[in-house]
Symmetry: none
Subunit: 225 residues, 2 copies
Amino acid sequence: METTQGKVLIADDEPDILEILKYNLSNEGYEVVTARDGDEAFEKAKRTKPDLIVLDIMMPKKTGVEVCQLLRSQSAFKETMIIFLTAVNDESTQIKGLETGADDYVSKPISPKVFMSRVNALFRRINKAEAKVLKIENLTIDPERFLVTLDNKEIILAKKEFELLYLLALKPGRVFLRNEILNQVWGNDVIVGDRTIDVHIRKIRQKLGVDCITTVKGVGYKFEL
Amino acid sequence: METTQGKVLIADDEPDILEILKYNLSNEGYEVVTARDGDEAFEKAKRTKPDLIVLDIMMPKKTGVEVCQLLRSQSAFKETMIIFLTAVNDESTQIKGLETGADDYVSKPISPKVFMSRVNALFRRINKAEAKVLKIENLTIDPERFLVTLDNKEIILAKKEFELLYLLALKPGRVFLRNEILNQVWGNDVIVGDRTIDVHIRKIRQKLGVDCITTVKGVGYKFEL
DNA sequence: TTGCCTGTTTACTTAGAGTTAATAAAAACT
DNA sequence: AGTTTTTATTAACTCTAAGTAAACAGGCAA
């Protein structure tokens, strides 16, 4: 069962930062692996094959830039996304970082919100989740026409309902945490009450008539026909 | 069925610019391909056959100008539109760029609005060529004669009304965001009030008498008979 | 000039999407 | 069992987006 948004390796020698980033990433459904120095980062990268590697530039044993260069020299990591954490707002360092093939850099002090939005942006890019018509058995979800069809019968959903259903149906079987749903459908900055998602889920269930959204108590929701 | 506004290849070595441009382009319905250096740009251009190529002049491996010359030497890219991104406001570079056959150049720092207006301007130019008569059931829309017929009865629409109806009817069922409508019918640089589109929609509905335009609240409008 | 048409804005109304709050039900935990 | 936590289900409320009518400015023709 694929339950994760993606695998992320964080390498930083400061335990506090490691903790904060790990907390935020897990919270949005990412699987997290951590390392405390350059060597460990490189070793764990090879072993766990993460989708994204977050590298602190200043680390013991090997700097982030060195790790990045090592990784990029191996074909297995040509496609892996890399984000640098730069302590100093040192432009030349940043440019050097990006030249070694990093996808983005975040300068400390880190704002978890900013960091997460960068991460999500990168993952959105590789997931190429462009508006595609979804077809699951007798159910079709067409974002272009903003139309849901069940057994060739049209069902009209409101905007939020549609977006929510589309998100879940994008990866049938995968559990979406409530936080993820909030971020994807509402946006990271919007604050809505705890019960709002439930209400929308209910409306979708009601309109579709079929039980295709399963509740995973204490975790979130998943689409299943 | 063609669902995209057009395909755009962006080549720039700065991830930030890539992201911003990609975001804005996707937002307005363009399909986006990206490249980070000259070689990748040329390779992806050949592979994906974009309608428009945005080339940064200063890029690793091959400069934008070199890529442009290479492309223009191939018959397949005689018609492809090319926009240069110039870091410096260097006149001689710009002139050289345009001499190699580029359609436009934008100098950094880039204003997304300006950039998009240039892109849309170029696309509008090539799209205007295909003014086809639309026939949907008992309704015909003839852009040449500027005439709408319903059950063989002529209906006189004003210019904006006609353009709006034509846009929607071009892809029946497809939802057009208000932004898209504004860009296509009015142009991106024009600023009109929030209710302007509604008023025109209303007039069309009134004149046609048939309910062929559906509103998707919070999203946009779509044509449907 | 007048008058008509188009395109736009303004102001008001309306519908209904989205949210909340309150209560009930269902798991999970002791 | 009882207690706590989490979700379901409503109904009520809020507030935004779209509908509508009227008015206004500019253009063009008679």
